[in-house]
C-alpha cells in the first residue's frame, strides 16, 4: 500500500494554539488545533488531564479536551471527527511506513508506526538485506527528537524569527555576490549518504565553479579511506562481512556499539556466534572496555599508542607464515604467546577472517589492510568493490576549510548536519573563521553551538517529516518518506538547497522522484513502470539494485608496510608513558554517540552498556590505577594535556588498560536544549589532528587532583554474580557433550494453571545479546516509560522495564563480562502476586503476569518480593510535573506516547507486560481475519528492535513455535530456577569459545 503521496494534503499540522470558543478554561487548554486543508483533525494537543492518559488524543478522529467540571459530574469530553472522511485513515488504527533513519550516517532502513497521524515508534525494516529488522538505541530514540521542544519553530535571520522568503532573498543576494567574487561558496555537511542529495550538490558544483562541498564527521574514519587509496587504489570504506569471518580481530573498533554500522555488524556478528553452528572466534585489542570488547572471546587491554604495534606484530607473524616481505617485530607489550595464537587462528582461517581497526591513523589502517590482504580476506570479508558509503569524510579537507575561512576566502558557508563549534578540536578557530565569512547559513534544527553563530538558521525537517533516500552500501538503496506533516515552519535541507540554486524543481519530493526515475529505475529490469517501481520501493523501503560496476579484478595490496610500521613504532615510542603520565582514549558512547542527540532524554537516561552510568561522562580508569592514585569513584580529576584540560569524575572500569583513561565524547553540549545542556563534559577539544587525520587519543596526560567529587548516576552498583545461578555459562566443548534437548523443569507442588489458548513465553539467547541496549529504548518508546532524570537515577529509581544487567567475573584487570537483558520473568508461581493485597497483579490464563495499574495502591510489597527486581514504582508523577522536565512534561513531547498503553500515575507499580497491547492487537487482527495467530506474528518491542535477534517471543503451547524450540534447547535455563518461580521467560546459556594458548 502506498502511503499518502503528498503528505501535506493528508496529514495534519499542529501549530500555534487556536482555542475554540467553547473551552471554558484557558488553563485546561494548553494548545489547540490548527486545521489545514480539508483535514482538520485534532492533533495531540491535550489538555492537562488527558495528555497524560491513554487517549490523550485518539487522533485524527477525536480531539478531546476537558471542559471543566459540570457540577459533580465527570468533565465533559468533546469528540471532533474529521470533517471529510478518508478511507485510509481510521482513528485508532496504526499504519506502518518504511523510511530511512537519519540518526547517524549508517542510514538503517526503518518501519515507523504511525498512529492517528503521529509517528510513535521506530522499528527496523526486516526487508532490508543489510540491516535486518534491528535498530540501535539511537535509532529508536530519534522519534522523540521529532517532538523536541527545542526545535526551531521557524527560520531565523540574525537571531530573529523570519519568513522563508526573506531568508531566501538574503541567501540569493549573497550567492550572487559570491559568484561574482573570488571567495568560495562552501557546503559543510556530515557524510552524505543520500544519492539524490549528492545529485543536488553536483548541481551546485556545476552552477558555481567556486562551490566546494566539505564533508566532516565529528568522529571520523577518514584514515580508512586514505589508507585504502594508497593500499588498493580505492578511497573507500570497505563493506565488511562479519558473518563470513570465522576469526575476527578488532583493534579499538567498537563495531557492535558505535563503529561505522553497528546494527548491521551486530546482526552479522551474532549470526556467526551461534553454538549450534561453528561460532567465530573474536579477539579484541582495545584500551577501554567497549561493548564489542565485552563480547569478545579474548580481550586484551592495550593503551592506544600500542594498538598499532599489535597490528604490526600480527602482520609480522602472518607475513612470516606467508613467507612474504619482512615485517619487523613491533615489540608490543602484549604477551607474544597470545599474539602467536591469534596469528595462528587467523592463518588457519585465511579467507574467512577479518581484521578491523577503529584507529584513525593511516599507518595502522595500512597495516590492517596488509593483514587482510595477506590473509586473503579482500573480496571475501572485506568488500572494496561495493564499499560502504556510510563514511566519506576526509579530515584534511575540513582542516583546509578552517584555514580558508580564517584567511577570509569563504564567502558563503552552508552548514548541514554538523556542529563544529562543539565537536571540532579547534572549535575556536572554526568560530573565528565563521566571523570572517560573509554569510553563514545553518540548516540545524535548533540553536546550537554552531548555528547560534550563523547569520541564518534554516531549520531542516526532522527525518520523519521529510522525503529522502540513502545508499548506505553501494547499490543498496533505502527510501525515506514523511510520517507526519512538518510540525513547524521548517523546510527540508534539500528543498532549501534547491531553492537557493534557483532550480526549476524546488519541491524535493518531485526532485527525488525524478532522480530515482532517471538514475535508479533504469538499473533494474523486473518492473516495467516507474510508478510501480516507486510504489514498491516506497512500500518496502529498500531497493537492492545490481552493482553499478561488475566486480573488478580483486585489488592487489600495494601499500608501503615498511613505512607504516616504522611510523607506528616511532609514534608509539614517542607516546610512551610512564610515571604519572597517562594516555587518554576518546570514544563514542553508545547512548550519545557524537553528541548530536544530546537533547534526547531517552538517550541521556540510557545506561552505558558497559559502565551502566547515565546522564554524563566520566574518566574510566583501571581498578589498579584507582588504587594507585588513591581515588574513589566520583573523585573529580583534571586531565591535563598539552592542548587543554578536562575535569571529570573518575569511574572504575574493570578491564581498562591501567595506563589509559577512557573518556566518552558527545557530552558537555553547551547549547542543545533543556534536557541535554551541560550534561557531562565536552572531550572533543582534547582530540587533535595528526598526519591529516583526526586522532581520538592523546598521550602524556596528567591526572591532577581537584579535591572535588561528583555523584555518578549508575543503574547498577554491584558487578559480581556472587556465584549465583543468574547467567549460566558453558564452553563449546562442554556443550557438545550434552544432549540436544536436556532442559527439564523443576517439579512444582501445584497443578499447571495456564488454561488459556496460548501460553506466552520468551527466550533470550545470552550468546546473541551484545548489550547494545536498543531494546531498552524500544521498550521505553512502546510502553510510555517515563524519564526520571539524574537525581532519581542516583536514588535507584530508574523506570526502564527492561534493563541489561552486566556482570563481570574473573580478575579485575582482565574480566569476562556478560550482558543479560532482564525484564519481568512472568513467573507461573509469581511471588509478587501472592503478596499483593488487592489482586492488582495476577497470572493471566495465558501465562502473563498482569499488572493492573488502576487497582494498584502502591504497597510495593510485590517489588520487595520479586527476586528479579524488575518491578518499577512511580515514586512521583512523572507526567505533568515540572520537577521532571523531560518529554512527558511538554504537550509536544507527549505526542510520542503510545495511545494503546496507559500512562501510569504516581503511586502505582509497573513492569514489563510482554507488550500485552501487541498481543491483544494480534488477537484482534486474527479475529478480523478469521484465522489463528501465527508464530512470530507478535513481536515484543524489545524483540523487534534487537539487531541480533537475541530475544524470541511466542506461544509455549505451540510445540513448534520458535520460543518452544528454544526453551527445549539444551542451553535453556531460567534465572534463579531453584526458587521455584517457574518463569515463562527463559534464557539460553552463554557459550564461551576460549582461545587456546600453548
Amino acid at each position: 500500500m502506498s502511503p499518502c503521496k503528498s503528505p501535506k494534503e493528508s496529514l495534519v499540522q499542529i501549530g500555534a494554539p487556536a482555542a475554540p470558543a467553547y473551552w471554558k478554561s484557558v488553563d485546561e487548554l494548553q494548545s489547540g488545533v490548527k486545521q489545514t486543508g480539508e483535514f482538520p483533525g485534532g492533533l495531540p494537543a491535550g489538555g492537562r488531564g488527558e495528555a497524560t492518559r491513554r487517549d490523550f488524543l485518539a487522533l485524527m478522529g477525536f480531539s478531546l479536551a476537558a471542559a471543566g467540571l459540570s457540577g459533580c459530574r465527570a468533565p465533559v469530553q468533546h469528540a471532533m471527527p474529521l470533517l471529510i472522511g478518508s478511507e485510509q485513515i481510521i482513528p485508532g488504527v496504526a499504519n506502518f511506513y518504511a523510511t530511512t533513519c537519519r540518526g547517524c550516517a549508517s542510514s538503517c532502513s526503518l518501519l515507523v508506526k504511525q498512529r492517528d497521524g503521529r509517528p510513535i515508534k521506530i522499528e527496523g525494516n526486516a526487508q532490508s538485506a543489510i540491516f535486518g529488522g534491528g535498530t540501535c538505541a539511537t535509532g529508536q530514540a530519534t522519534v522523540l527528537s521529532l517532538y523536541d521542544d527545542e526545535r526551531l519553530r521557524s527560520p531565523l535571520w540574525q537571531g530573529q524569527t523570519a519568513k522563508w522568503e526573506e531568508i531566501d532573498r538574503h541567501v540569493a543576494e549573497a550567492l550572487q555576490e559570491a559568484a561574482g567574487g573570488k571567495r568560495e561558496i562552501v557546503l559543510l555537511s556530515g557524510t552524505v549518504t543520500s544519492p539524490s542529495t549528492r545529485a543536488i550538490i553536483a548541481e551546485w558544483h556545476a552552477r558555481y565553479p567556486r562551490f566546494r562541498h566539505v564533508e566532516y564527521d565529528a568522529v571520523s574514519l577518514s584514515a580508512i579511506r586514505t589508507a585504502n587509496e594508497s593500499s588498493f587504489g580505492h578511497a573507500v570504506v570497505p563493506h565488511y562481512s562479519f558473518d563470513k569471518a570465522r576469526v575476527i580481530v578488532g583493534l579499538e573498533a567498537d563495531f557492535l556499539g558505535t563503529w561505522l554500522s553497528p546494527v548491521e555488524f551486530a546482526r552479522q556478528y551474532a549470526a556467526n556466534r551461534k553454538p549450534e553452528g561453528s561460532p567465530s572466534l573474536h579477539v579484541q585489542f582495545e584500551s577501554g572496555m567497549s561493548v564489542t570488547g565485552s563480547n569478545a572471546d579474548v580481550r586484551v587491554a592495550v593503551p592506544p599508542s600500542q594498538i598499532g604495534l599489535v597490528a604490526v606484530a600480527l602482520l609480522h607473524r602472518i607475513a612470516r607464515k606467508a613467507g612474504t616481505g619482512e615485517v619487523p617485530e613491533s615489540g608490543s607489550a602484549v604477551d607474544a604467546k597470545k599474539l602467536d595464537a591469534v596469528a595462528d587462528e587467523l592463518w588457519k582461517h585465511r579467507g574467512e577472517s577479518l581484521v578491523v581497526s577503529g584507529v584513525n591513523d593511516v599507518h595502522v589502517q595500512t597495516v590492517v589492510n596488509a593483514l587482510n590482504a595477506a590473509l586473503g580476506n579482500i573480496g571475501k570479508t572485506v568488500d572494496l568493490a561495493h564499499p560502504s558509503l556510510q563514511r566519506s569524510v576526509n579530515d584534511q579537507s575540513m582542516a583546509e576549510l578552517v584555514d580558508k575561512m580564517n584567511r577570509g576566502e569563504v564567502h558563503t558557508l552552508m552548514l548541514h548536519g554538523v556542529n563544529p563549534a562543539y565537536d571540532y578540536h579547534q572549535a575556536d578557530q572554526f568560530s573565528a573563521g565563521l566571523k570572517k565569512t560573509a554569510l553563514v547559513v545553518s540548516l540545524s534544527d535548533r540553536r546550537d553551538e554552531t548555528s547560534s553563530q550563523a547569520h541564518a538558521i534554516c531549520p531542516d525537517h526532522h527525518f520523519l517529516e521529510a522525503w529522502g533516500d540513502a545508499e548506505p552500501v553501494e547499490s543498496h538503496f533505502s527510501l525515506a518518506q514523511p510520517l507526519i506533516a512538518p510540525l513547524f515552519e521548517t523546510r527540508s535541507a534539500q528543498e532549501s538547497m534547491l531553492k537557493w540554486l534557483a532550480h526549476d524543481e524546488t519541491d524535493y519530493y518531485k526532485y527525488l522522484r525524478a532522480f530515482w526515475q532517471k538514475d535508479l529505475f533504469p538499473r533494474q529490469k523486473e518492473i516495467k513502470s516507474f510508478d510501480d517501481f516507486w510504489d514498491q520501493s516506497l512500500q518496502s523501503g529498500v531497493v537492492d539494485l545490481p552493482a553499478k560496476t561488475a566486480a573488478a579484478v580483486l585489488p592487489k595490496f600495494h601499500g608501503d608496510v615498511k613505512a607504516a610500521a616504522d611510523s607506528i613504532m616511532a609514534g608509539s615510542a614517542q607516546a610512551h608513558t610512564g610515571g604519572d603520565s597517562y594516555e587518554v582514549h576518546f570514544y563514542e558512547s553508545v547512548p550519545l554517540r557524537d553528541g548530536r542527540h544530546a537533547n534526547n532524554p531517552w538517550l541521556l537516561e540510557l545506561p552505558d552498556p558497559v559502565t551502566k552510568v547515565t546522564w554524563g561522562n566520566y574518566a574510566a580508569v583501571a581498578p589498579a590505577l584507582l588504587k594507585k592514585l588513591g581515588m574513589s569513584d566520583g573523585d573529580v580529576r583534571r586531565l591535563k594535556t598539552e592542548s587543554g584540560q578536562l575535569e571529570l569524575p573518575v569511574f572504575t572500569q574493570p578491564g581498562q588498560d591501567p595506563h589509559t583513561v577512557s573518556v566518552a565524547l558527545g557530552y558537555g553540549r553547551r547549547q542543545v536544549g533543556r534536557a541535554g545542556q551541560n550534561v557531562g563534559v565536552n572531550a572533543f577539544p582534547l582530540t587533535h589532528q595528526e598526519q591529516g587525520g583526526r586522532r581520538y587519543s592523546v598521550a602524556k596526560v596528567a591526572l591532577e587532583k581537584t579535591g572535588r567529587s561528583e555523584k555518578l548516576a549508575t543503574t547498577q552498583t554491584h558487578f559480581s554474580m556472587e556465584g549465583r545461578p543468574i547467567v549460566l555459562e558453558t564452553t563449546l566443548e562442554e556443550l557438545n557433550h550434552e544432549p540436544a534437548e536436556s532442559h527439564e523443569a523443576l517439579p512444582t507442588l501445584w497443578e499447571d494453571r495456564l488454561h488459556g489458548e496460548h501460553a506466552w513465553g520468551m527466550a533470550v539467547d545470552m550468546n546473541s545479546c551484545t548489550g547494545c541496549s536498543a531494546c531498552v529504548v524500544a521498550c521505553q518508546a512502546e510502553n510510555n516509560v517515563p524519564v526520571v532524570g539524574k537525581d532519581q537515577i542516583e536514588r535507584i529509581r530508574i523506570m526502564h522495564w527492561i534493563r541489561i544487567d552486566r556482570y563481570y567475573s574473573g580478575p579485575e584487570e582482565d574480566p569476562v563480562s556478560v550482558h543479560q537483558p532482564m525484564m519481568c520473568q512472568h513467573c507461573q508461581n509469581a511471588p509478587c502476586e501472592t503478596v499483593c493485597p488487592v489482586v492488582a497483579t495476577t497470572t493471566s490464563s495465558e501465562g502473563l503476569n498482569q499488572q493492573v495499574y488502576n487497582r494498584c495502591i502502591g504497597t510495593r510489597y510485590c517489588a520487595n518480593n520479586c527476586p528479579y527486581k524488575v518491578r518499577r514504582f512511580n515514586w512521583y508523577n512523572y507526567t505533568d510535573n515540572p520537577k521532571f522536565d523531560f518529554n512527558m512534561e511538554s504537550p509536544l513531547g507527549r505526542m510520542v506516547l503510545n495511545p494503546d498503553v496507559v500512562v501510569r500515575s504516581r503511586g502505582v507499580m509497573e513492569k514489563c507486560s510482554l507488550c500485552v497491547q501487541r498481543i491483544q492487537l494480534a488477537k484482534n487482527m486474527a479475529l478480523q481475519g478469521g484465522r489463528q495467530i501465527a508464530d512470530g506474528e507478535i513481536q515484543t518491542a524489545c524483540q523487534q528492535s534487537c539487531p541480533t535477534q537475541a530475544i524470541v517471543f511466542g506461544d509455549l503451547k505451540d510445540p513448534n513455535s520458535r520460543v518452544s524450540q528454544l526453551q527445549r534447547n539444551r542451553r535453556s535455563y531460567q534465572v534463579l530456577e531453584d526458587l521455584g518461580t517457574r518463569p515463562n521467560v527463559g534464557y539460553l546459556k552463554k557459550v564461551r569459545n576460549p582461545l587456546e594458548t600453548t
Binding site: T748, E751, C827, Q828, E833
Partner: protein
C-alpha cells in the same frame, strides 16, 4: 415504674457481706448491692448465678468463624477465582489468619454488646444511685420494699445490727 427501696450503707465491705448473709438468712431477698469494686465472695452470699454471657461469645465466635471461612471461600473460589501466584483457588491455609481475627473481633464485640444489653448500660442512661459514694468508698445494700409482707422495721434493725452505718428508704426507678 419506680419502687421503694430500703438502702443500707456501709464503709466496711466485710460488714456488707455479713449483712447480706444475715438479711438473706432472715428471709429477705437482696435486691442488689452497690459497690465501688466487685466484692469477691458476694456472689455466693447473694446467690448470684454465674453469668451465661460466655455462651454469647462462644456462639457468635462459632458463627464468625463459619462466616469468615465461607466468605473467603466464596470470594476466592466461587465469585472470581484468580490465578494468584499459581496457588490453588482454595488456599485454605492462607484463610486461617482472617478466620481467627474475625472470630475474635465479632465474638468480643458481641460479648460486650450482650453485657450492655443485659445490664442495660447505654450512653445517656441516668445512673440510678441508691446511695451516695457507691462509686467511691461506700458500699450499699438495697432491699426492695414490696406492697405486702415487707417488714421494714425488721429489715432496718437487722441491717443496723450487721454494721450498716445508715439505713434509708429511697424511691427510685431501676
Amino acid at each position: 415504674m419506680s419502687s421503694t427501696f430500703l438502702v443500707a450503707t456501709f464503709s466496711d465491705p466485710d460488714a456488707l457481706v455479713r449483712a447480706v448473709v444475715a438479711v438473706r438468712e432472715a428471709g429477705f431477698k437482696v435486691y442488689d448491692v452497690f459497690a465501688p469494686y466487685p466484692l469477691h465472695g458476694l456472689d455466693e452470699a447473694m446467690g448470684v448465678k454465674r453469668s451465661r454471657l460466655p455462651w454469647v461469645t462462644f456462639c457468635v465466635g462459632l458463627c464468625a468463624l463459619a462466616l469468615a471461612l465461607t466468605f473467603q471461600f466464596y470470594t476466592s473460589v466461587l465469585d472470581w477465582p484468580l490465578n494468584v501466584g499459581g496457588k490453588p483457588d482454595n488456599s485454605t491455609l492462607a484463610f486461617i489468619p482472617i478466620c481467627f481475627e474475625l472470630t475474635v473481633l465479632l465474638s468480643g464485640l458481641a460479648t460486650v454488646a450482650a453485657l450492655f444489653l443485659r445490664a442495660r448500660l447505654y450512653p445517656g442512661k441516668t445512673a440510678a444511685l441508691l446511695a451516695e459514694g457507691v462509686t467511691n468508698d461506700t458500699f450499699a445494700l438495697a432491699l426492695r420494699r414490696r406492697e405486702s409482707g415487707f417488714d421494714v422495721h425488721r429489715a432496718r434493725v437487722l441491717l443496723e445490727q450487721n454494721g450498716a452505718e445508715r439505713v434509708k428508704e429511697k424511691e427510685a426507678e431501676l
